[in-house]
């Protein structure tokens, strides 16, 4: 898919507010922190008797998943519902596109149904960015994973997990272990971690699954897991993406587990209070031992709860940015209108 513009710019309004959420790359520390702070408030609203807030009441969100997903899609669905939006789940793999309709035709049809936001997952890198460029102004696009490029909401829920369990991101040493090559999550994590002030980001995996350009992103590369895990504060395990492994990049799953599977013995090399994270779904006995996945240091299930709050936060912020941009546009158009009244009062 062709990229026409810088995704960092496409996702921001003229005054720097989020209006789409496509990538963590290039976003400021302030904006990433604003997402985390807002997500924190949404964690508290979900602990109430009534979990919904009326923020996006009357808005329509469409889950546009060109690739399979259970967790991400259902947490986006719950997030939209807890913001009081109406949500439509479109299993696009089984619908119009398989009948020959182009991506943009599908999108324009959905726009004609007065949709306000599209949550897009696509196998092609840059798909969400492409859609954000084409979509009618006022409609927000949230990237739920595009090819090997980015999975920004997953990265932000991981940032929230680290912040909530370790207190802060600044000064932490984080190891990301596994199939870095096929991982859009790892790329989004590294960008966010660097911006938010992590001390060191290590990527650990077999040379065939750790691309050299990770160095350019600011991460240090380790092929030896024992060395890489020494004294880290956070261990993020990635899923072995069997469905993406068409080339023979690995000898066998058993061999992989021996070298890069997280066991209690390997985890003991990390700091005593290190936390273990995994974006799920986990392959027990392939990349992580059950004793670790279910162990004291594991925060894997907390990540799922935080995922809803983070998705609520970016949906609310992107919709808010779209609203502000549309409002600024209409104010500009009526600038000469002297009859415009000013609303007074500190509180309304």
């Amino acid at each position: 898919m062709t990229r026409h513009s810088d995704p960092t710019q496409v996702q921001l309004t003229a005054d720097g507010r989020l209006k789409h959420f496509l990538t963590t790359e290039g976003l400021s520390k302030e904006l990433l922190t604003e997402i985390l702070d807002l997500a924190d408030s949404f964690i508290s609203t979900q602990e109430r008797a009534v979990k919904k807030v009326p923020l996006l009441r009357g808005k329509t969100v469409v889950n546009l998943f060109f690739e399979n997903s259970t967790r991400t899609r259902s947490t986006f669905e719950l997030a939209a519902k807890r913001l009081s939006a109406d949500i439509l789940n479109l299993d696009i793999a089984r619908s119009a596109t398989s009948k020959g309709e182009t991506l943009m035709d599908t999108l324009w049809n959905l726009e004609a149904m007065y949709s306000d936001m599209f949550v897009v997952r696509h196998a092609d890198s840059g798909a969400a960015h492409f859609i954000a460029e084409q979509v009618t102004p006022g409609v927000a696009i949230i990237n739920a994973g595009d090819g090997r490029h980015a999975h920004p909401t997953q990265a932000m829920l991981d940032m929230l997990t680290i912040r909530r369990h370790k207190g802060k991101i600044e000064g932490q040493t984080i190891a990301i272990v596994g199939d870095i090559l096929h991982s859009r999550v790892a790329r989004s994590q590294i960008h966010a971690l660097k911006t938010l002030g992590a001390k060191e980001v290590r990527v650990i995996g077999p040379a065939t699954l750790v691309p050299k350009e990770m160095k350019d992103l600011g991460a240090s590369i380790y092929c030896n897991m024992e060395k890489g895990l020494t004294d880290v504060d956070v261990v993020i395990m990635l899923r072995l993406q069997k469905e993406r492994m068409s080339d023979a990049l690995l000898p066998s799953e058993g061999e992989y587990f021996k070298l890069y599977g997280l066991t209690e013995a390997k985890l003991a090399l990390a700091k005593a209070d290190a936390i273990v994270m995994h974006p799920g779904p986990i392959n027990r006995g392939v990349e992580i031992d059950s004793a670790v996945a279910d162990g004291k240091q594991s925060v894997i299930l907390n990540q799922v709860s935080y995922g809803i709050a983070v998705r609520m936060a970016v949906m609310a912020m992107a919709m808010s940015g779209q609203v502000a941009e549309q409002q600024a546009l209409s104010n500009k158009n009526s600038e000469h209108d002297d009859t415009k009244t000013t609303i007074s009062g500190a509180t309304v």
């Binding site: 924190d40 408030s41 949404f42 807030v53 919709m319 007074s344 509180t347």
Partner: protein
């Protein structure tokens, strides 16, 4: 009456009187252990002081950002911090505190939010200033002072220590 800066009441004196009035109000209504809830940010400052002064065990802070009715005009406030209420507000008498009462929309939003936490027995409204211009059928039970502003004028409480009123 048009208000100028010199006409503005001293908020500290106003607060002292308000605290006495609230105490008397609680006694007259025979409210047992009411729960004070302040609306961010000005109302929260007042509520914090009232809670101490009235020696009440609990305090709630309400952030109505997610409940405003003008999302389609203004979007979400960048200062949304979330609310902090006690575990249960079921069957409680609530004293809701805000700094300036104008259209009544903030209070409507606050009441909607409170009901998402549970069903209180009653809600009483306390405001430092009532500047009129109501757009909803909402009135305060205890008010520090009523003033009129000229069209387009804004009033802001800053604080918490000391409290100050500014016209804009």
């Amino acid at each position: 009456m048009n208000t100028s800066v010199s006409d503005l009441p001293d908020p500290e004196a106003l607060y002292q009187q308000l605290a006495l009035d609230v105490k008397q109000f609680i006694a007259s209504k025979n409210l047992q252990q009411p729960l004070i809830i302040g609306i961010r940010t000005g109302g929260a400052w007042l509520a914090q002081r009232l809670q101490k002064e009235l020696a009440l065990p609990e305090l709630g802070i309400l952030d109505i950002s997610f409940y405003r009715d003008d999302f389609d005009e203004r979007g979400l406030s960048a200062h949304a911090k979330g609310s902090d209420l006690p575990d249960s507000i079921e069957d409680r008498d609530i004293i809701l505190v805000d700094d300036v009462l104008m259209s009544g929309r903030t209070i409507r939003a606050a009441m909607n939010e409170i009901f998402d936490y549970g069903r209180p027995t009653s809600i009483q409204l306390v405001c430092l200033l009532d500047i009129g211009q109501r757009q909803l059928p909402i009135q305060a039970d205890v008010v520090g002072a009523k003033i009129e502003l000229i069209a387009g004028q804004k009033i802001k409480l800053s604080g918490p220590d000391p409290l100050a009123l500014t016209l804009g």
